[in-house]
Assembly symmetry: C2
Amino acid sequence: MHPMQTLLEPSSIAVIGASETEGKTGYILMKNLVDNGYKGGIYPINPNAMEIFGYRTYRTVLDVPHEIDLAFLLIPGQLVNHVLVQCGEKNVKSAVIVSAGFAEVGEHGLKAQSELEDVIRKSGIRCIGPNTIGLVNKQKNLLASFVPFQNWKDGPVAIGAQSGIFAGALATELMEMKTQRFGVCKSLSFGNMIDLDETDFLEYAWRDPASKIIAFYLERIKRPRPFFSLANKIKKEKPIIILKSGRTEYGGKAALSHTGSMPIKDNLLDIAFRQYGIVRTYTLQEFLATLKAFAYQPLPQGNKVGVITFSGASGVMASDEIHQSGLKLARFTQKTLKKIRNILPEWQPIHNPADIWVALGIERNKAVYKESVQAVLEDENTDILLCILLALPNSDVPDIREVFEPIVEKHYGKPIFVVIIGGKIKERWTDELEGLNIPIYSETSVAVKAIRSMFAYYRIKAIEAPNPS
Amino acid sequence: MHPMQTLLEPSSIAVIGASETEGKTGYILMKNLVDNGYKGGIYPINPNAMEIFGYRTYRTVLDVPHEIDLAFLLIPGQLVNHVLVQCGEKNVKSAVIVSAGFAEVGEHGLKAQSELEDVIRKSGIRCIGPNTIGLVNKQKNLLASFVPFQNWKDGPVAIGAQSGIFAGALATELMEMKTQRFGVCKSLSFGNMIDLDETDFLEYAWRDPASKIIAFYLERIKRPRPFFSLANKIKKEKPIIILKSGRTEYGGKAALSHTGSMPIKDNLLDIAFRQYGIVRTYTLQEFLATLKAFAYQPLPQGNKVGVITFSGASGVMASDEIHQSGLKLARFTQKTLKKIRNILPEWQPIHNPADIWVALGIERNKAVYKESVQAVLEDENTDILLCILLALPNSDVPDIREVFEPIVEKHYGKPIFVVIIGGKIKERWTDELEGLNIPIYSETSVAVKAIRSMFAYYRIKAIEAPNPS
């Protein structure tokens, strides 16, 4: 059995520190479990209540007359050791230690953490934390976190994040903001990684059918050797995408004080990421943009980008970004040029980027969008479509979904990326197009970074990496 | 008189191609003029109408019995020369040539453009275009463009943009999207720059009291020598911020076909920008982020950034970006550390970035935000505050304006930058804080790029650049 199995697929959960008081972490956790329809046993542990959310409470885990797969510890740091000993006696299989005040708070906390490590080792319980916000497994309707998430959307991405609160804010952004709404099937915040770590999560996500894309936010790699060796094994099956911070002198120091991480030199990590088939991203927006692309679109089968724009300037900026990212501008075939020429005035020259603005005119906008997009997707020399739309009243259409839906259904097998610049119309278009799994970006450079990440993974899949010695 | 004066401050305008038909460019332009309260004379030119928007129409400019400062040409390209000759006879002083089909369409257009150049030279009329969307001068209530802008917000930024439609989309984004709403006092789209160009606009904006920040989107510098020499003269008075595209091989080619621009080697331009005191940005989001920072905040007096975060991970990522941008993390004074220690539990270590998360607790959130932000702004070693907020239910406050308003009023003279990560609460906070002229960003790396741009300009002002020979 995988060490993370009872953690992510528990048959029963004891909530140690469950609460009836609205707003308390022990309340929110209970609410998250109940509201999301978790089917296993729920045992609130609280010596001062009889019933919480309709569930009978117990004084301690030892009083629960059922097996407990997972204990969720929402108690002050100084009580953790004692409670974990009880969990050990009860034969609890795994634990989420939310409590903070360990390695992340410096010397005093390091001592507490080393004692905690001893207790965990002796108990045989597999843990995440301390200093974690919990985990999510949509396939088990399990939303085990003290962050009040709403409408968690299922999807192909599994995210393991070292930092608790940050992961919470990130997930909240993903769930609540219209432009960031790709789905996440598994999410786990490692916290201080006293026991289970990034390598365990990588292995779990590899074997999990729902996890098609494996993503990490990390400040350190706790066990580099097994991590990279496993990544190397997985890389052709599932993309592994990482946002690794603490890459500079300042960042390294901050990571050290944040999670007690001793950094590996970043240039060495960079080499390892490349060698073992991990796609690295450098900023949060690049990370999210990349995940959205992988979640929504098929892999490109090459690096030749066909660009449709509705302003020359957008085309120039896209060309700069494509060049800088090591991608190529496709050379359209004669057939494609002819198709585009059909929708443009005779005098308008056609290149890649193809600037289609002059073809627009309210009543024919739909046809213009459709024909240009289709022409580029059908182009034999094009692997990827990047379409930069201007959301202006004169370029609007009543329902842009109608334009793209039949195109998406045709399955050209080529990824589509859309950038939208403009005003209010942008919000409506974004909504409509993301509903078709077309990833929308507000900034061309970010879209091109997502394309670059996808192409990087295409190469990882296509090309045998030299065997590292 | 400055050659752009009658263009941007006309006493009267002839709209050649004015229309009564809703949606037509000649209709939107008339509507923009009338709705925004332009006080000068308006003379619609249209041989087929008696009256447009209540204004008497004329067959040609020659039939107008008043002086005309500015003619706005919304007519097919092949009629432009003829109409300009009439404008010359009428002694019209300046013209906006919207018509397209010139250098931007290749060989055929180049010939037309060279003929147009002759006509303009002979007429003595000062022109922008062809292929422009027009101009805006908020100080004259002049919104002379065929893009239907709503609620154009006045402000300290003057923008000159080479590309028409793109400038339109950009302005629409600025005016309509809540997160991009810094004000613009002058806006002008150069188009193909047959006559008036970037150097003329730079000079105009320099002398214009409303223009505090001068911004350019350019694909080429038409007259590099006078442009850089003028920039060098202006640089200590007003910041000049540029987004120059066409910087790579692909981008250069695209620019060539877009506006017929022969590019200067980008590395040479980079040197010139630095030498003559122009702040360069590389992507649209960096450009907008920088303009917002300049529009809202005072210049920093150094490069030492104090960072407040509510998650360790945000602090690590901010540290990476600060290091990479050549900025410094401030070393907080003992006094500052003591102030922050007062709001944190004893065991929580304090560094820069200061991670304040554990201090939060619904009922005291306001005090925590206020005291931490104030402590860092009062810190003697800190020049700049970067605050990374997490928009989560447990970190919320009913009115975040109340926290920041007294702080903003205290005028510490240090710029404040706020990044917000999270869900729905983010929209409310953004709205409230941008109302106080605090620039909000969704991404730390973008905020840090804006800080870097501001610091770059501080150095331009503070340090005498070596005299180029």
